[in-house]
């Protein structure tokens, strides 16, 4: 029903714009913004959803976590800020859920100061609510943020304790049981960076993954995803690109783990408005081209 109402409203509006364009009237950019705004509002209000299935590049990241034996050490780095969060936070939450469901140990890092507080949201909303048995220092630990960008990676690839004398709360690393047999990143089984800026996935590949020979996966904001594709599959074992990648991962997680059937899936919910908005943008491109060719033909006809 929601889809039909949205289609009528949006379709009617687009038809009106097409007629105006054919009459030779300009379409103000504010009309375009308003249309996209209305489209997204309708899709969010009616909670439109479309099916998603994991593409090979997302499935590869999923399968890598799946294939690791229980108790493997996984680094998840929160390298993003609130501006990127709607796209990449769902990925981070999905990775955390998956890793904990497989009984892996998670080492949280953050190369962005803002990532540390967003990590706290995951700890409160996912870890403590859905995995109350997960114990700090045994199943997961938070190393927190350190200034220094790729310089931080350059140090922790040889010795974590040189850069992190303690965890985010200042607790000495040696007092955390899960750090007992960890000297450097080379002791990790998988590195996952989630971000979209610098430092981010690329820096983790260059300064940690490649240098230490450690399998690396990534989740990136849509803007930076195309720049990371060349690293797949040899330097990145898998990559989640933007909301689409996050939605694919969420769908794969739900498919393989029935206990997550009723979890909050923000990325899957976001794909409805996303699809509708893209349809409107494509419609605007078509209208623009029709209008352009018509006006050019008129010019040619009028001599």
């Amino acid at each position: 029903m929601g889809f039909v109402i949205s289609a009528i409203v949006i379709g009617g509006g687009l038809l009106w714009i097409l007629i105006r364009s054919l009459q030779g009237k300009d379409v103000d950019r504010r009309v375009v913004f308003t249309f996209i705004g209305i489209t997204v509002c309708l899709a969010v209000l009616f909670q439109l959803k479309f099916g998603e299935s994991a593409t090979p590049i997302v499935k590869a990241a999923f399968d890598k976590i799946e294939q690791l034996p229980a108790g493997s050490k996984i680094v998840i780095s929160y390298d993003f800020d609130p501006a990127m969060a709607p796209e990449v936070h769902p990925m981070a939450n999905a990775f955390v859920r998956h890793a904990l469901a497989k009984k892996h140990k998670i080492y949280f890092f953050s190369l962005w100061a803002t990532g540390q507080s967003l990590l706290e949201v995951t700890v409160q909303d996912i870890l403590k609510k859905e995995f109350p048995d997960a114990r700090y220092g045994i199943d997961y630990c938070n190393m927190g943020y350190k200034a220094g960008n790729e310089g931080v990676l350059n140090v922790v690839i040889t010795d974590i304790r040189k850069m992190y004398p303690g965890d985010v709360n200042g607790t000495p690393l040696d007092s955390l049981p899960m750090m007992a047999d960890v000297k450097s990143l080379k002791d990790m089984d998988l590195l996952i960076s989630i971000g979209g800026g610098k430092p981010g996935v690329k820096e983790w590949v260059l300064f940690a993954g490649d240098r230490g020979g450690i399998p690396t996966a990534g989740g990136a904001a849509a803007v930076s995803t195309p720049l990371l594709y060349p690293y797949y599959p040899r330097q990145l074992v898998g990559l989640l690109g933007g909301t689409k990648g996050a939605a694919e991962y969420e769908s794969e997680l739900i498919k393989r783990y029935p206990q997550f059937a009723n979890i909050d899936t923000p990325a899957l919910q976001m794909m409805g408005p996303q699809t509708m908005a893209h349809v409107v943008i494509v419609a605007f491109i078509i209208i623009g081209n029709v209008s352009y060719f018509r006006s050019r033909r008129k010019k040619v006809t009028n001599g």
């Binding site: 796209e87 790729e150 200042g170 240098r211």
Partner: protein, 248 residues
């Protein structure tokens, strides 16, 4: 009785505070989006607030994680005690980055701003020194290595090729097509940037294919950028409808 009344009052205070913060966030969201109509004071206020708070937040996090986390435990026991961090013994070499950091702040003093060039030179030099070998190894050599791919991956003969003929990404046909696109795309893309020979004949055709490869790449990048911007819009509208107006 008194305890439960004070608890209720505290809960009410929290509810009022949360409602105020949510409304403020909604106001700032709408202020930022008001730029789509045109530049205005609401947008400028929200923008300045965002930049100021971001800078302050990064500075505070940097201070507590790096200065307090790494430097203070290596100074004096009294300092470590004051900041409640375990003392790790005095290390004089930790004073070097602190001194460079203070010199960097001399930019704020016009007469002494020239001194700040020294730590800047150090930062640029070390960053370039750190990045050069990594970029050379992982971005240059390794990326070239990634391009050396077999056009016929895991060729199992003509029989299995047709029996597993499928358009799925795991299918042999799709893998061969992918590798061919990479091979032709890289060669033609490089030819487009080769200006020492006139782009005519077969060379010109390859150059034009190179342009198409570049156009497809830019188109994919633009598509992803659009997706990113729409995701942010969906995120803010979900916030307005769900968290602020509570109608979802």
């Amino acid at each position: 009785m008194l305890k439960s009344q004070s608890g209720l009052a505290a809960a009410e205070d929290h509810a009022v505070r949360d409602a105020f913060l949510l409304t403020l966030a909604a106001f700032l969201t709408l202020s930022i989006y008001s730029f789509l109509y045109g530049d205005n004071p609401f947008y400028r206020f929200a923008e300045h607030l965002f930049v100021g708070i971001s800078a302050a937040y990064w500075m505070c996090q940097g201070f507590w994680s790096t200065i307090v986390g790494n430097f203070i435990p290596r100074t004096l026991p009294s300092f470590a005690e004051y900041f409640q961090v375990p003392y790790k013994g005095f290390s004089w070499h930790y004073l070097i980055p602190v001194a460079l950091g203070i010199i960097l702040l001399m930019r704020l003093v016009p007469k002494l701003s020239w001194i700040s060039r020294w730590p800047l030179a150090f930062i640029i030099g070390t960053t370039a020194g750190l990045n050069l070998p990594r970029y050379l190894q992982s971005d240059f050599i390794q990326q070239m290595n990634n391009t050396f791919i077999s056009i016929l991956p895991d060729w199992q003969g003509i029989g299995p090729f047709f029996s597993t003929l499928s358009l799925s990404a795991e299918g042999q046909l799709a893998m061969i097509a992918t590798n061919l696109v990479i091979f032709v795309g890289v060669i033609c893309g490089l030819i487009y940037f080769f200006f020492s020979k006139e782009h005519k004949g077969a060379f010109g055709v390859a150059s034009r294919i190179g342009i198409w490869v570049l156009m497809v790449t830019f188109g994919a990048s633009f598509g992803y950028t659009v997706m990113g911007r729409i995701s942010l819009l969906v995120g803010r509208i979900t916030f307005l409808f769900h968290d602020w107006l509570n109608i979802l």
